[in-house]
């Protein structure tokens, strides 16, 4: 037994930090309805700030701590509250996108403010150990952390139990309108919750950094460990979350005892993610999203005006519209095909090295397209799309043969492997949506990182493996230009298929599953089949993209497909426009631009700009495209010579005959109960 104690103690130490993080996450979710994906990034930001104050500027802890906890954290909390306040009542998807945006923004800001050099944060407790019993050592820092964590947890618990803040917290979640009516100031409650939660993050940051290292990505990842316990407490119970975090810490630590013994290599690192995935699948239907009932039904509140983009199509007579989908060559498709034809000639105009970047943009666009279909059309959020890309790339690397002569075979195998994986990721979607689905896919991506891509026989470990350029039916695509043409053709074919499918019955089916799954199911849509098929197909195409990704880079490592790459993909797709094929192309283009040889001093601002753009455009399903269209329309109205009646094509269908009341979606006058 005694050989387990050291591991249990380490486990309690890390568990107590996870516990704090879990409580911080639960606090904002239960009070404000925001699941804070950026929690780790906030902890990280606070840790860096503390490093700056304490280690760099040499302030004593007695000065640095109050600055951190009483100035920096509250200000950050207030800023976050202000950021999320306008999003109250919007769909889970928007809130997730914004919080991933905040994560990316903080990750981008830290190197800009604090620089890139390596640094360590001094432990706030002495690192000496004392001996308990006969022979095992306990660090003062471990004990200190445990004590602080327990004390703070108890304090929070008491606060929620015995103060007005606690009761108003509950009132605010259950029914914000009612809470306002009975005089609870919802705004104050929300702000207090954000401040408290941010202070917890700061504490997590400075407690964990000394042992984990002050590294942007590492800290974010560690806090993701806390998501599993938070979900265990169903995102509402603080004590459950805290206890589960302790248990998780201990289990993980005990497993690490065996980790080095061979077969189960790295399994302990994946435990929290496996736990998260399993919890979500098992608890499935019983998980309810906070405030879901008070949520507006759709996000297209701007309806009518903004989204009449396919104007040319929509104004046609219905017969043409209904009959024509198979043969239609509408304006969008014509534009697309024109662009495609032009794209084929790019190699004539662009020097070699840049051509690779453009090819990369198309490959990325292809991958982005799968997320457009999955998230933008079918409404299934995925934070794991790059795991499929990884499957494609590694399979291509292993099976293509030395000269890429088996490339087609490798692609086929990769897609066959991706399909069941897609179904596996899709499984949680049968019972979960929105936030919980996002968490499940994130867990999946992390599991793939830790137990698949980390294996030497899969990925070649840190050094990665090489992937040859493809050779198809004896034709070699090893030259830059030929590879480019191949990629563009593949992208074009997939995009046209997607476009045609979208306008047809399958596209409609995906969109009705997105807009109202319940209504769709009562009309006869088998949600299970629909969701699993779309996850599988999108996974397969992402794997196809992965094979080209590998062939283009010629060497891939696990880092290329790390969980965070999937988050970046989501951000770029939202930025471009998640419901449009052109949105995927913009995502690819933005990615391509980042590949260009731009000085790092400039390049480091790109991620920040992207993150801020995403936060601004999160509510707009057509992202930049819609924005650009609005701007263009504004310019056009100014430039238009004379105000004529019925400009831009005669509508064949007259507008409403009755009173034309276009109330914004989601705010219909509720039914009034008339007496009998």
């Amino acid at each position: 037994m005694s050989q387990y104690w050291p591991f249990i103690i380490i486990g309690l130490f890390t568990g107590s930090i996870y516990g704090l993080a879990a409580m911080g996450v639960v606090l904002t979710y239960k009070t404000v309805g925001v699941f804070n994906f950026a929690y780790g990034a906030i902890a990280m930001f606070c840790a860096f700030t503390y490093w700056q104050l304490h280690d760099s500027w040499g302030l004593t802890a007695w000065v640095a701590m109050p600055i951190l906890f009483l100035v920096v954290a509250p200000l950050l909390g207030i800023a976050l509250e202000a950021l999320y306040r306008p999003l109250t009542g919007l769909s889970a998807e928007v809130v997730i996108v914004v919080s991933v945006g905040v994560l990316a923004a903080l990750e981008a800001i830290v190197p800009i403010i604090y620089g890139n050099e390596d640094r360590r944060l001094q432990a706030i407790f002495p690192t000496r150990t004392f001996v308990v019993g006969s022979h095992f050592h306990v660090g003062y820092d471990q004990l200190g952390t445990l004590v602080i964590s327990l004390a703070v947890a108890a304090l929070l618990w008491a606060l929620l139990r015995h103060t007005r803040f606690g009761t108003s917290t509950r009132a605010a979640v259950d029914n914000p309108d009612l809470a306002d009516m009975v005089g609870v100031h919802g705004d104050n409650v929300r702000r207090s919750a954000w401040i408290l939660s941010t202070m917890f993050a700061a504490l997590v940051g400075i407690l964990i950094s000394p042992s984990q290292g002050l590294d942007v990505n590492q800290l974010v990842l560690v806090v993701i460990y806390a998501f599993a316990p938070a979900v265990f407490g169903r995102l509402v119970s603080l004590p459950l979350a805290y206890i589960a975090a302790m248990v998780l810490g201990v289990v993980e630590s005990l497993l690490s005892k065996y980790a080095n013994s061979g077969t189960v290599a790295n399994i302990e690192a994946a435990v929290p993610y496996l736990a998260l995935f399993a919890l979500l699948v098992i608890m499935g239907g019983r998980l309810k999203e906070a405030g879901a009932s008070s949520r507006r039904l759709s996000l297209s509140t701007r309806g009518g005006g903004g989204s009449g983009g396919a104007g040319a199509v929509r104004t046609r007579h219905w017969v043409v519209r209904v009959l024509g989908w198979r043969l239609r060559l509408d304006r969008n498709l014509a534009l697309g095909l024109g662009g495609f034809a032009l794209a084929l000639f790019i190699p004539l105009a662009v020097p070699g090295p840049r051509l690779i970047d453009i090819t990369a943009a198309f490959v990325y666009g292809l991958i982005a397209l799968t997320l457009v279909v999955l998230t933008g059309w079918a409404g299934q959020i995925s934070l794991a799309q790059f795991s499929f890309v990884g499957v494609g790339a590694f399979t291509a690397g292993h099976l293509s043969g030395p000269h890429g002569q088996h490339f087609l075979l490798a692609v086929l195998v990769a897609m066959l492997v991706a399909a069941p994986l897609g179904i596996l990721v899709g499984l949680p979607s049968l019972r979960l949506s929105g936030l919980y689905l996002a968490l499940a896919t994130l867990a999946f991506a992390l599991v793939m990182d830790d137990i698949v891509f980390n294996r030497g026989d899969v990925s070649g470990g840190l050094t990665g493996i090489t992937v040859p350029r493809p050779q198809i039916f004896g034709v070699s695509f090893s030259g830059r230009a030929s590879l480019y043409e191949l990629v563009v053709v593949v992208f074009g074919v997939v995009a046209v298929i997607a476009y045609v499918v979208r306008l047809g019955p399958i596209g409609r089916r995906l969109q009705i599953v997105r807009d109202s799954p319940l209504a769709a199911s009562t009309l006869g849509v088998n949600l299970t089949v629909t969701k699993l098929v779309v996850f599988a197909v999108c996974g397969m195409v992402a794997a196809l993209g992965g094979a080209f990704y590998g062939a283009l880079q010629q060497a891939v490592t696990p880092f290329d497909f790390m969980w965070s790459t999937s988050l970046t993909l989501l951000l770029l797709v939202v930025l471009g426009g998640r419901s449009l094929i052109s949105g995927a192309m913009i995502a690819g283009a933005v990615y391509g631009v980042q590949q260009l040889p731009i000085p790092a001093s400039v390049n480091q601002y790109f991620p920040l700009a992207i993150a801020l753009g995403v936060i601004a455009l999160a509510q707009e399903p057509e992202g930049t495209v819609a924005q650009a269209r609005r701007e263009a329309r504004r310019v056009m109205t100014v430039l238009r010579p004379l105000p004529r009646r019925s400009v831009g094509g005669v509508r064949e269908i007259p507008m409403t005959s009755g009173p034309d009341v276009a109330i914004a979606a989601g705010s219909p006058p509720r039914g009034s109960g008339h007496g009998l």
């Binding site: 509140t301 209904v322 769709a520 009562t522």
Partner: protein, 263 residues
Amino acid sequence: MASETGWEEPVLRATDVTMRFGGLVALDDVSLEVPAGRIVGLIGPNGAGKTTMFNVLTGLLEPTRGRIDYLGENISRWPPHRRGRAGIARTFQRLALFSRLSVHDNLVASWESSHPGAVLGRSRAKRIERVAEVMGLLDLWPVADRMAGGLSTGKGRMVELGRALCTDPRVLLLDEPGSGLDANETAAFSAVLQAVVSGRGDRHPDVAPPAILMVEHDMALVMDVCSSLTVLDFGRVIARGTPSQVRADANVRAAYLGDASAV
């Protein structure tokens, strides 16, 4: 309340349905029948369990106890989509439109969802015909190209009705179709409903007019169109019968206390 003909099997029948949410008994041993060719009303105060009953009938909720029969077959274990395909259609009290599709596409998608093989592009001619017919019946052409999410409640309810009709239902469950409608819309709606049940306005010979089960707070509308009523209160059936019988019932008056003057 067997149908008048006595020997005819009702289209839809619920037997002793109980639904608990934790400690709350939303439905307590509720039975009801919807005979072919009739409009049956399901009424009761707020929170009585009417919507819950609809959710149980359409399979969105699995009842704690009880059984559902449809055309003489026990469908208690059927998933929602199977019931939808078999001919049970519904509308939602809280509009559940496909908000980012056009009105026309809402109906088309509905037809495609309920007809096997349609998602692969089969039987398009039939689809076009049927959808056009329903669009005409409900006077939806003027808004055919509008995004459903931007419609007024009145039009939205019409779209939901149209969507339900496109599945060629044998029984139609309407959850407060009159709420949020103005007087003109209500009158138009009542006329449409009559037309639907009588089969007028439906040129389709192969589609029998559906029976209707309707939840509605607007008593004028209920009295106008329903041939029989079931009254729920706190999950229990407190009265049933023809509209005039129900109107005279003492239990019902008590349940609607305070609103009794509105009778």
